[in-house]
Amino acid sequence: MSIERGDVEKIAYLARIQITDAQLDKVTEDLSRILSLVDQMQEVSTEGVEPMSNPLDMVQRLRADQVTEENQRERFQAIAPATEAGLYLVPKVIE
């Protein structure tokens, strides 16, 4: 399956990665090459094969719904780019 510049612009937005017009051709070419490798999968029939998401077919353990951690907000926010009054700061979303 080949991929077009428009597809790359769309997935780059989905992934929230800015790609400049100057980079777009190169990225499209690289992704196309990877996808042609990946497309070798289509040569084999997998009808009726159950998809495997965990190599041991394990089911994720659940834990009791109990509070086990103490609040460390100040410690965790000390490494944030911008905070104020215990909140993370981002550019204004609503005018």
Binding site: A15, V27, V44, T46, N54, A80, A82
Partner: protein, 485 residues
């Protein structure tokens, strides 16, 4: 002192031949003298190392020392270490100082091991040459014009150059075994779930496993003993007891059944590599092993399926790097989308972006069945091949890599050719099995590795075979030629 193995240092500390502070200073000094030519460390945590060494000496004086107490080691810079910068070799985390320890870091700290610093790697563990690091490539101590391998290339180079006795690594598609092979080391990828992933910066969560990188199987056993075990904070960590890996090292190999997958020994295998593997097989036969041909028919589909599954999981895992809670943030964002998009464009390198984009594509509406679901179905076929083969043999033997360490910049322009070189290691991660790479000889002066794949949770057997092989051979004792050892 710096040429001793971890097991030897452990004995010497116990015998009181020197203190942990003394041996720690020896390695810190050596890193200062030599690492500028290798670039194997991103951060050397001198102050904390000396504090830990002092504490280890006090613990020994109090009679509470364990086998690793006071023994220096290095962490791949993917393990979160409380108060010590953890970059994952990315600009995104260039100044990230974690407020907690990964479980592996905590376990080694509890064992009293002394962390010298954090080793270089491919950015977010994505790469096979250590050339995608934001902090620059690592050079192979055997020949400085060559790559160390990746993604745990800094750990491999540091251990090979005797800048630490052993180091931690992580392996998602071969990232412990391939650099171990390229640098002449013993490296073990445990069974998926054997070692906790908590606090190991996530790449592909259903494939990632942490493990030891060392010069000998004995040292790898020593380190795995401290790393392995159940962790209630990792929902995929196995609830199983950890066997005594050291005690298993001396089991005889009589009757060991070794399978050689015919798909790995095709006509295109480098004749020098084929000869070297044959010579190693002769040694194992002399130890009592029997060899037979087996088949892993879906081998060729491994790399294509991996390059859907790993990027898909990576795209989800790396969505957390948004410039809001920690890590890099772009300058003067005009709005929230601009903040996300420029932070991630500037914070991630090219290979990481490629994989996020591939993963995003594979998971996007309309493509999920053709890519992600298909890859997961193929993953089961590959796993079933291994399970079937391991009914008739105990371990599966192959080269770790098709060739020895390649030249710096030789493959970086063509990502797909580099991906294809991981064809012997990737299937093992898809199956979730344990595998070890051990030094099996030299080709044109460069080390080559032999891979053994075992059944689920049979790490002890792999370490045992490698240890017995190392009692008969000298390959693991050879020192690299590119730096003074």
């Amino acid at each position: 002192m710096h040429t001793k193995t971890a097991a030897e240092i452990s004995q010497d500390l116990q015998a009181g031949k020197y203190t942990s502070v003394e041996i720690t200073q020896v390695f810190l000094q050596r890193i200062k003298q030599i690492d500028s030519s290798l670039n194997s460390y991103i951060t050397v945590s001198e102050e904390q190392a000396l504090e830990q060494a002092k504490a280890a000496d006090a613990r020994r004086a109090a009679g509470n020392a364990g086998p690793l107490t006071g023994v220096p080691f290095a962490h791949k810079d993917i393990f979160c270490t409380d108060g010590i910068r953890t970059t994952c070799a990315s600009r995104m985390l260039e100044n990230f100082v974690p407020p907690y320890n990964s479980t592996v870091a905590q376990k080694l700290l509890d064992a009293g091991a002394v962390c010298l610093g954090k080793t270089n790697m491919d950015e977010f563990a994505m790469g096979s040459s250590n050339e995608t690091s934001y902090f620059g490539a690592v050079k192979n101590p055997w020949e400085l014009s060559r790559v160390s391998g990746g993604s745990s290339g800094g750990s491999a180079a540091a251990v090979a150059a005797r800048l630490t006795p052993f180091a931690t690594g992580t392996d998602t598609g071969g990232s412990i075994r391939q650099p171990a092979a390229f640098c002449g080391l013993t490296g073990l990828k445990p069974t998926y779930g054997r070692v906790s992933r908590l606090g190991v910066v996530a790449f592909a969560s259903s494939l990632d496993q942490a493990g030891p990188m060392a010069r000998t199987a004995e040292d790898a056993a020593l380190m795995l003993q401290a790393m392995a075990g159940f962790d209630p904070k990792d929902s995929t960590c196995a609830e199983r007891d950890v066997p005594d890996y050291l005690a298993a090292l001396n089991q005889p190999l009589d009757g060991l059944r070794i399978g050689l997958p015919k798909e790995y020994f095709g006509a295109d295998l480098d004749p020098a590599m084929a000869d070297l593997i044959q010579a190693a097989i002769k040694e194992l036969e002399a130890l009592g092993a029997q060899v037979q041909e087996i088949s892993l028919p879906n081998t060729a589909l491994s790399v294509p399926a991996y390059y859907v599954i790993a990027p898909a999981e990576a795209s989800a895992n790396l969505s957390r790097f948004d410039g809001v809670r920690y890590g890099y943030r772009c300058e003067n964002p005009t709005n929230l989308d601009d903040l996300y998009m420029r932070t991630r464009a500037e914070g991630f390198g090219d290979e990481v972006k490629r994989r996020i984009l591939i993963g995003t594509y594979a998971l996007s509406a309309g493509y999920y069945d053709a890519y992600y679901r298909k890859a997961q179905q193929i993953r089961r076929l590959i796993r079933d091949d291994f399970v079937k083969a391991l009914e008739s043999v105990d371990v599966i033997l192959s080269p770790t890599t098709p060739g020895t360490a390649f030249n710096l910049n030789a493959m970086s322009a063509d990502p797909v050719s580099m991906y294809l070189a991981d064809l012997f290691t990737i299937p093992v991660n898809l199956a979730g099995l344990p595998a070890i790479s051990m030094p099996a000889g030299l080709i044109d002066g460069l080390p080559a590795g032999l891979q053994l794949v075992g059944n689920y949770f049979e790490e002890a057997r792999l370490l045992n075979i490698a240890h017995q092989f190392q009692q008969r051979t000298q390959w693991h004792t050879l020192a690299p030629q590119g730096v003074p050892v």
